[in-house]
């Protein structure tokens, strides 16, 4: 079971899919609160939605250089995905979340240990 931090600017977003996979999830709609929480608590991986989610990786990596993050996009734009890959996310997934896909993604990301993140691509 992992400690998961979730951020989505959409207040209607729910993260039951994460808890259904057996993980603990704490979710926020405000970037500042998300970062504050990450600063003070153990987080194994962050799930971040949208363009603001990409922006949040930098402060999270300032907390820990190997902070793991999965990015989600609900209207994928290729330039945004290019920008996301500069921040070495575990993965870039589409919304709505597909449980099996997220499960596989989390397992792989967490299997590789705390200090290992995937490579970044300067796109």
């Amino acid at each position: 079971m992992a400690q998961i931090l979730a951020y989505d600017p959409n207040p209607d977003m729910h993260w039951e899919v994460v808890t259904s996979l057996g993980h603990d999830v704490v979710s926020f709609n405000d970037p500042g609160e998300t970062i504050d929480y990450a600063q003070d608590n153990r987080v194994d991986i962050a799930l971040l939605v949208g363009s603001e989610g990409i922006d949040m990786i930098k402060p999270l990596r300032e907390i820990s250089p190997n902070f793991k993050a999965v990015l989600f996009c609900d209207a994928p734009e290729i330039m945004e995905i290019r920008r996301a890959l500069r921040w070495a996310p575990c993965s870039v997934l589409f919304m709505p979340i597909v449980k099996e896909e997220l499960d596989a993604c989390l397992k792989r990301a967490l299997l590789k240990g705390k200090s290992t993140i995937k490579g970044r691509l300067n796109l």
Binding site: A75, P76, E77, I78, M79, I81, R82, A84, L85, A88, S91, V92, L93, F94, P96, V98, E100, E101, A104, C105, R108, K118, G119, R120, L121, N122, L123
Partner: protein, 942 residues
Amino acid sequence: MEAKELAAAKFTIQRFLATVFADEISPELFKAMKTDTFLRSLKKASETLYSKEMTRGARALFDYMDGAGVDTHKELTFEYADLFLNAGKSPVLPYESFYIDREPTLYGEPLFQMREFLRKQQLHKDPDYPEPEDHIAVEFDFLAEMNRREASGDLSVADIRADFGRRHMAWRTEFCAVLHYSDTSGFYQALAEFTIGYLFLAHLASVPPEEVFPSDPTADLVALGNVLAALPLAAESFLLKPGTIDPAPARTIPTHCYACGALCGMTAKTRDGVLMSTAGLQGDIKGGGRLCIKGGNAKHHVYSAYRLKAPLIKENGRFRKASWDEALDKVVTDFKAYDPTKIGYMRGNDFANWVHEALFDHLGCPKTTHRPMCDNANRMANEHNLSDKRPWINYQEADYILHFGMNEVITSYGQRKTAQLKAAVDRGAKLVVLDPRRSETAALATEWIPIKPSTDAAVALAMCHVIIKNGLYDKEFVSNWTSGFEDFKKRVMGEDDDLPKTPLWASRISGVPAETIERIALEFAKATAKGAMSWTGLAQVPNGMYATAALQALNALCGTFDAPGGPSLPFKRKLKPAWGEGQEKPPKGSAPKLDKLRMWAGWAPAYLLDDVESGKLDGMICYFGDPVLSWGNQAAITEAIEKMKFKVCIDAFMCDTALLCDVVLPDSTWLEQSQIKPDWLYEAQISYWAEVVTPLFESKPMYWITMELARRMGLEKHFPWKNIEEAFANQLRGLPCTLDQLKEQGYVVTDQAAYYKYKEWGSLNPPDGYGSSGNTKTGKYNFVNPVAQEKGVDPLPNHHDGPPDLATDATYPFHFGNFRVFGHEHSSTFNDYSLMKANGTNALWINKMDAHDLQIEEGDLVRLKSPWGEVEIKAHPTWDIMPGILGAAGGFGHKRGLEGDPKFPQFGGKNPPGIQKPNMTEDMGGTPLLKYIKTRVEKITT
């Protein structure tokens, strides 16, 4: 919407994507995409699709195709080569194995998962398709096949297809981003938009409709499928075949490493025909069961994502894919248009050299090898004064070891020997290293003695002076096993030139204190088990031959050859010719001598620009070497190659030289081709290199390439073997081992180590049937170089200042020298991701005092300038290099591959030796002066 209708639409879309990513876009498909009918329907779809992402993709594709002109298709073949065949700066690496960790090593876990997935569906990848199973085209083709089956009524595959699509979605999304970033044509950017639009659409279609309401992704998919159905796409799977192929059994294969010249024994483990890991080979005389970081990471070399995949032909300054037939025919046709004696043949690596050298020697091509770029100055001494270029010191027995200009711990040449050196120091043997830089070996040493470049001869002669003056030399050995001692003594004592080679004299030249010289001379002479050795630190400077002779004279004076702890005389077996009974080796042609060096009669490639401009060379075939990064002044070598009319490169990677060539042929790596080779350290053995894995992509072993060139030239009768093993069998005739033994063990030890072998031989030369790289005409150690005598060159060692224009001065007060790092071999290992993670760039070493004076700090960007060029590089102030000396690791600076790929900006170094004086070498062996470049350094302020 019926499931079958949706499946049919998705089949069409996926088949289209498989087709456009599998290979160059065909003229037929391109033409069909340019028809008014197709463009109209694509435009209409782009205006009516619900999904804005798919609309964007369809519109991008329409805009590109609508604007495409008559030359567009040709341009796309160039772009395909750049993006998919690694000809370009930013290849797209279309493999799931890359994206799983975003590390550019292929054949990872996704490949095995894909194979298993295919097996479960009674499918396998078409063996004729040269890409691995986790290529994006194969995955799209698999999905297309599943949709085809579903559309045909087999609804059982729906779950399989959906599960596969989900599991393999994320990496394809990232691939689109990379494709969009890397493309320069616009076409693949449009395809990236189109593909990502489709992936998102397919994703939406895979979730319950209520989750995506009010959109209707299935309607968009059907509309898009209808548009693409007008294109000439294969009705059946074109990358997959029916039937399963069982996994190949796991194997552990004894072989040898060829990452560097050490040639350590290696075991390679394979799984389903894929190299998984490499380790040392127990009992092998070179590695002794050990492998270094390079050999241990060989998997990342073989499976580097930057491998050349197919033959390439340059047109209009860009590469396009060619078939082997087309490329080889062009090489032969073009070759025949020129005088073969003006086509240079360069082989940087001697893998299977018995076959390719035979061809080019026969054709009369001037030939050069690695030797005149490496240590030919050393060899001009040792190969004539002694019997080998480099007799290895028996560290296991030594109690006093003297190294001049040699970083043994890093350069290694056999991990067993390196381990023995470390063990010797641990047990109290004294290791003294003379080097301008505190190298890894100097750091290990009991004593590091900084010395100015190209002054080693002075120090070694002064040591000889001390030994002779004190009567400490081995009179029995000198009397019985050396020649020319009296002349040498006169030189050392100054009787022939009124200049006694005293420690004080040497001190003024070298900067080494006279007391130190005297002390180490006495220590060396009085030690019981000892050896002195040098390497490229003495070769890549102006006075290399004489410095080597002076250094080796210490061994001769002390009778250390073949003594416990001394340099072990080589006695490796000679292979028999590969041409057996009734087979005719091609006679040698008459290749002209290109350069006029004082000792070396061969081609010294640092003079390439001179040779081209003077009309001696019109072209070049270059195999497994990178002249641009290693032959001398980079700008001059580049200009020379550009001026050539015929230029071909055979390499596993797009090296800087290949970039300048008209035809590039993809070589297999050394783990994909086989050879046998005699070798030695203290014992002698015959070593075997196995074809551990089948050559990747469309690469071919050099043996095959040579045979095909010979056949096209009508020379097949001289290259008569049914297969390479027939040639091996010929080479092993009369030798104490068989090919089967070699395959089983990886090596066969033919001769055990022995002390004082020369006493049994009656000569320092090994007996018939044994080989080494040199020959002493007297059978003794020659203080007086007999070949130098014949050529009218001073045959006795001495110190000589370098050419005046290479000396440091007020404007250029530093001497720069390159050095080696353990994690790389010359310029050949820079696409191995694991090695690059450890050593991904180089910095300029500068003494901290010098850096302080120039206000340079760690990491500052500086400009290193010589009178002949400049390079920008980051500075590394350190106490580990002498004041007045600069250094940097060599081999960096590739324009392509991992160093050149802008997606990985953390990798990439510079090539400072490329600013040396053009058309310049030491004057005996033609070795470039990589360690004697006068420079100045300026901090770059922004």
